[in-house]
């Protein structure tokens, strides 16, 4: 949260009544976690507690200068498909990719019959060199899969993550690791202007449902940011905000 609520000089150009978006998100995330805890209460019965599986999901921010927004995490079966290269993303994923808001992404997931549970990390964005861990307990199934998504905050609509990662085969004590690439949601032009990016380099607008939707409107591998240091003079970014290919390492450890 510290990245987005600083009273930096640029933030004074924003409309005064606009709430720091992460205050709202943290509150909603906490609500979601509480809800899912209620929903899972049956799993904690003594009769079937031996079927519980607990996964610690840790995401390391491997960028140089891109805060990662709160994690959208979904545990599901193989029928759930959160995004697909070359196709338009859902409104929930657009909101996550443009503003870092996981609410609708997780709502969409929870409406899917193949989804077991979902959660958001609730500590706000986490910066380069930091990590965020979320622990999730579900009924174990060999077919469990994991999806994780998080916005690169100093971009228009870039997000990193992994989808449909099979974790059901992990035995207690096992861990698995993967490197996460960066996607372009295709829902917003990559203008890199200060008014269009929510992160600390810009403090601009996050989600806008109507902005640029017809420009590309398909999911691609992100081509990276250009930045002012490389000749895009209208960019609010500098060379420190660039990345190559992968933005995060995701480690899953089964602890129960």
């Amino acid at each position: 949260m510290r990245f987005f609520t600083n009273n930096t000089p640029s933030s004074t150009h924003l409309p005064q009544k606009r709430l720091p978006s992460y205050l709202a998100i943290a509150a909603i995330s906490a609500g979601l976690l509480a809800l899912s805890a209620c929903g899972d209460s049956n799993d904690d019965d003594d009769n079937n507690s031996h079927n519980d599986a607990t996964y610690d999901i840790t995401v390391y921010n491997l960028t140089n200068n891109q805060p990662l927004t709160p994690l959208g995490i979904v545990v599901h079966g193989s029928a759930y498909m959160p995004w697909k290269l070359g196709e338009p993303v859902s409104t929930g994923l657009e909101m996550l990719a443009e503003a870092g808001d996981t609410t609708n992404f997780l709502n969409e997931a929870n409406a899917d019959a193949a989804v077991v549970t979902s959660a958001s990390s609730n500590n706000g964005p986490f910066g380069p060199g930091s990590s965020e861990t979320v622990s999730i307990t579900v009924d174990h199934s060999a077919s469990l899969q994991l999806t994780v998504a998080s916005m690169l905050a100093n971009t228009n609509d870039a997000f990193t993550g992994v989808r449909n990662w099979s974790i059901g085969g992990l035995a207690v004590g096992d861990s698995a690791s993967t490197m996460a690439r960066v996607y372009d949601a295709g829902t917003e032009a990559n203008s890199e202007t200060a008014v269009s990016m929510p992160g600390p380099a810009a403090m601009g607008e996050g989600f806008n449902i109507t902005r640029d939707d017809d420009l590309v409107d398909r999911l691609t591998i992100h081509s990276g940011v250009v930045t002012a240091d490389d000749g895009l003079m209208t960019s609010a970014l500098d060379e420190s905000h660039r990345w190559l290919g992968q933005a995060a390492k995701i480690v899953v450890m089964r602890t129960q």
Partner: protein, 252 residues
């Protein structure tokens, strides 16, 4: 990403725990079979357009050993390697030890130029492989194969390797013109072996925002050989990942 193309296709993800079923099976087999040594013929190819690799360290070890870990701070010996290409401090660590049958020092006998390959033969009873070398010309970029599990079955295994930023020196992209390289935060690029760098750059970055080992954001460079911010050439010295291809031929 260190990609084992065989096991990735089968499992869908990379496991790196000792408890990995395959590794556990292999360890058990080793214990029962009194540690039969395998031969690993390791070939390293420089996939970049215009970057040299400093002398390579190729070493086999167990699953608990890590020369470095992405997302964690670089050790001082890794800093020496990433900023100056110096391997001596790594050979003084318990993780590496002295050069021997499964720890090969500098197989290319010097720099590995873009587009070229070198090979090292390891005879080992170990299960994991690590490879490191500095990428030139950069401040503190290194290629790293991080504790990669190598199957015991005969076969050819291929891995692609990222360039990582050690997080220990600002990427000012300024080239040293005199003196010896030292591992200091304000250090400069120790050399441009392609003799294709500029001079008098005023400096690109003054600090790393991420001081852990992370995926290198690449160099910026410019087209001003006698000024600008960078001494690097933007059309020669940039790269995309992967920067190296590692092939391991296992002969049990």
């Amino acid at each position: 990403m260190n990609r084992n193309t065989r096991s990735m296709a089968r499992n869908g993800f990379r496991k790196h725990s000792l408890a990995l079923a395959l590794a556990a099976g292999f360890t058990t087999a080793l214990a029962a079979g009194a540690a039969q040594a395998a031969t690993w013929d390791v070939t390293i190819t420089n996939l970049t357009n215009g970057n040299h690799f400093t002398p390579l360290l190729v070493t086999a070890h167990d699953s608990d050993t890590h020369l470095f870990q992405v997302g964690m701070p670089a050790s001082l010996p890794i800093e020496h390697m990433a900023e100056c290409g110096h391997l001596d401090p790594l050979f003084l660590t318990p993780e590496v030890g002295a050069a021997d049958a499964d720890t090969i020092d500098n197989p290319a006998t010097g720099l590995l130029a873009p587009g070229t390959s070198t090979s090292a033969m390891l005879v080992t009873t170990e299960t994991h492989l690590s490879i490191v070398a500095m990428v030139l010309p950069t401040n503190d970029a290194f290629l790293g194969l991080e504790s990669q599990y190598i199957p015991s079955e005969a076969g050819t295994y291929t891995y692609y390797v990222n360039a990582y930023d050690a997080g220990t020196e600002a990427n000012d992209e300024m080239l040293m013109t005199a003196g010896e390289c030292a591992y200091t935060d304000s250090g400069m690029i120790p050399g441009a072996p392609g003799m294709d760098a500029g001079m008098n750059g005023t400096g690109v970055a003054t600090a790393d925002s991420n001081t852990m080992i992370h995926v290198h954001r690449g160099v910026l460079g410019d087209q001003d050989e006698t000024g600008g911010t960078s001494d690097l050439n933007s059309t020669i010295h940039r790269w995309q990942n992967p920067v190296a291809k590692i092939t391991v031929v296992v002969t049990p």
